[in-house]
């Protein structure tokens, strides 16, 4: 009998060690994105489209500065940065992303334990990517409300060298892979080479009535991560709620309906990022995320206003406390306040 208990104990120990290993790899990937300077070329594939892109990612005392731009097709780029460098970090390209601070909100560390309830995480073999050895990590969802991943993490640094996002059938729907990468990029230029045009930062709302929003039904594991209010392009007040299960994220944008600008029910697919629109209590609602449409639909259809309060400034009052998804069996955990 004692041998059986010993065997069980060994199994449990091995299981814990294995789960710890998998969690460590995810943690290393997250840390690498915040602490390592690198530059490299990568291929981004979505459906039958392929783009070659380059990233310069520098970390210094001011924070993280990153420029991602295309090497073929229309000249487009996204720049993210912190500190002084961001003053010159915006180019005149076709599409201009914002240059505000990169919000390394580090969602993942808070969720590593809970992820094991939402995804089956297992280690694969060691494979070679962009002349580096990489550990393969398989992340398969336990339900149909999120996509799966296959990740290649560089053995030494943990940097993610290749990632595939897969649907429920295992089919790859979007992926990127470095073709070359320099992990010792201690210097370099993040700035765009031509005329500098700064994008307008989103002003934060200072006054106004704030509606409390509640998502009555949400897929297991998703919890409110943050919420903020800002002024949109037409100075309309936009509430932005962000939900996450630790890997997948869903944003809910809510703004008052405007005459002639109501967006009828529409669904948009940009590859892996889906979006749904609808109207709720005289508000235009857009739900967007790299999740299946079923997830967006559930959130959109269960969004409810909870009433009004006087002149609250959501942005300055800070986001609500993220809820541990392992405990969020009560839908009220997903309420935005």
């Amino acid at each position: 009998m004692s041998r059986i208990w010993l065997a069980l104990l060994c199994c449990l120990t091995l299981f814990n060690v294995s789960a710890q290993d998998q969690a460590d790899w995810l943690r290393r990937m997250e840390q690498a994105s915040r602490t390592i300077s690198y530059r490299g070329d990568f291929v981004f594939v979505r459906g039958d489209q392929m783009r070659q892109m380059r990233v310069v990612h520098l970390v210094d005392g001011d924070g993280v500065h990153q420029r991602v731009f295309s090497l073929d097709g229309p000249a487009t780029e996204t720049l993210l940065g912190g500190g002084e460098r961001k003053q010159a970090a915006v180019g005149t390209y076709g599409r201009l992303a914002e240059s505000d601070n990169l919000p390394f909100t580090t969602l993942l560390p808070q969720r590593l334990q809970a992820l094991n309830d939402l995804y089956q995480i297992s280690l694969g073999g060691i494979e070679r990517v962009a002349e580096h050895q990489a550990q393969v990590i398989n992340v398969e969802p336990e339900d149909g409300y999120r996509f799966g991943f296959r990740l290649w993490s560089e053995l030494g640094s943990g940097l993610l060298l290749r990632a595939q996002m897969r649907d429920a059938t295992g089919q790859v729907i979007e992926q990127f892979s470095f073709s070359s990468v320099d992990l010792d990029a201690t210097g370099g230029v993040v700035t765009a080479p031509t005329e500098v045009v700064r994008s307008q930062p989103q002003p934060q709302a200072k006054t106004g009535h704030l509606t409390h929003w509640r998502v009555a039904k949400i897929p297991r594991g998703f919890a409110l991560q943050s919420m903020r209010r800002y002024a949109g392009q037409r100075q309309e007040m936009v509430d932005h709620l962000l939900f996450s299960d630790g890997l997948a994220t869903v944003s809910v944008f809510i703004e008052p309906l405007q005459d002639g600008l109501e967006l009828a029910n529409q669904a948009v697919n940009t590859g892996i990022v889906n979006a749904l629109t609808g109207t709720v209590a005289n508000n235009q609602v857009t739900v967007i995320g790299e999740v299946p449409v079923a997830t967006l639909s559930m959130i959109l259809n269960s969004l409810q206003p909870e009433g009004l309060t006087a002149s609250e400034d959501l942005a300055s009052s800070g986001a609500s406390t993220p809820t541990d998804p392992a405990e969020s069996t009560d839908p009220s955990d997903s309420a935005g306040r």
Binding site: M29, E30, S33, F42, F44, R46, G47, Q49, M53, V55, V68, S70, P74, T76, T78, L80, R95, A97, E98, L102, T105, L107, L108, G144, L151, L160, A163, M165, E174, F176, Q225, S226, Q233, H240, T249, S251, L261, A264, N265, Q266, A267, V268, N269, T270, G271, V273, L276, T277, G278, T279, I288, G289, E290, V293, A294, L296, S297, M298, L300, N301
Partner: protein, 233 residues
């Protein structure tokens, strides 16, 4: 009708059972019900091929698809009237339709057919917009394959919505209005996508994917009227 036989008819139409076509075709020819199904599937296929070739096909697709849906109650889970409005579909709780998990083979087959029907309706929607507008939005100028994939994903996610989608595509006014709104929608979507990436890309596990999405946003995007969304309360 036997679900397995229905699947066989569908496979025959798709030329997936060429090797066993003799025996299966005999079975189809003996059954009036299967013959009707065979004809219906071929009509749908003909229309889709015509649309793919860019031909203007004036047919009552809505009625044809509605007929197909009425013949396949198993594909709508739970069963909803095909004439329900979008508001009805939303208020009746689409959540019940999107619960994932293991499905029987019969249900899977039903959803597969529903997906094909939804693709059909989306193609019609796109065709109407090209016909009705001189300068269609870039969203609507995406290729058929992308639009098809959208419709399929929607249908699998919420199998019961195909019927209401049909009712929308049948109205020229609604499709043209949607196309005009798309420019606004794209502008807003651009801003939303950037905000979403900014707030969500911090976990590092997706690597370059979020940023590459922003850079490539718009290329290959597609938009459809969708009863999956929600109308006002």
């Amino acid at each position: 009708m036997n679900d397995r036989l229905m699947e066989q008819v569908s496979s025959l139409v798709d030329n997936e059972q060429q090797s066993a076509s003799g025996k299966s075709l005999d079975q189809v020819l003996k059954s009036p019900e299967l013959r009707e199904t065979w004809q219906r599937y071929h009509q749908m296929g003909d229309w889709m091929r015509g649309a793919a070739d860019g031909k203007v096909v004036r047919v009552d697709v809505a009625a044809r698809v509605r007929t197909a849906l009425e013949s396949e109650p198993a594909m709508l889970i739970p069963v909803q009237s095909t004439s329900e409005s979008v508001e009805d579909a939303s208020s009746s709780g689409l959540d019940a339709n999107v619960v994932p998990g293991p499905r029987s083979w019969g249900q899977m087959a039903g959803i597969g057919v529903a997906a094909a029907v939804a693709s059909l309706t989306v193609l019609l929607f796109q065709q109407n917009n090209f016909l009705g507008l001189d300068n269609p939005s870039p969203f609507l100028a995406s290729n058929d394959a992308t639009v098809n994939s959208v419709a399929t994903a929607d249908s699998v996610a919420a199998g019961a919505v195909a019927a209401t989608q049909v009712s929308q595509t049948g109205a020229d006014d609604s499709t043209i209005q949607s196309a005009h709104l798309s420019a606004t929608f794209q502008e807003k979507l651009d801003a939303y996508l950037v905000s979403h990436v900014k707030q969500s890309a911090g976990n590092g596990v997706q690597g370059m994917l979020p940023y590459a999405r922003v850079v490539n946003h718009g290329a290959g995007s597609s938009v459809v009227d969708s009863p999956i969304g929600r109308q006002g309360q």
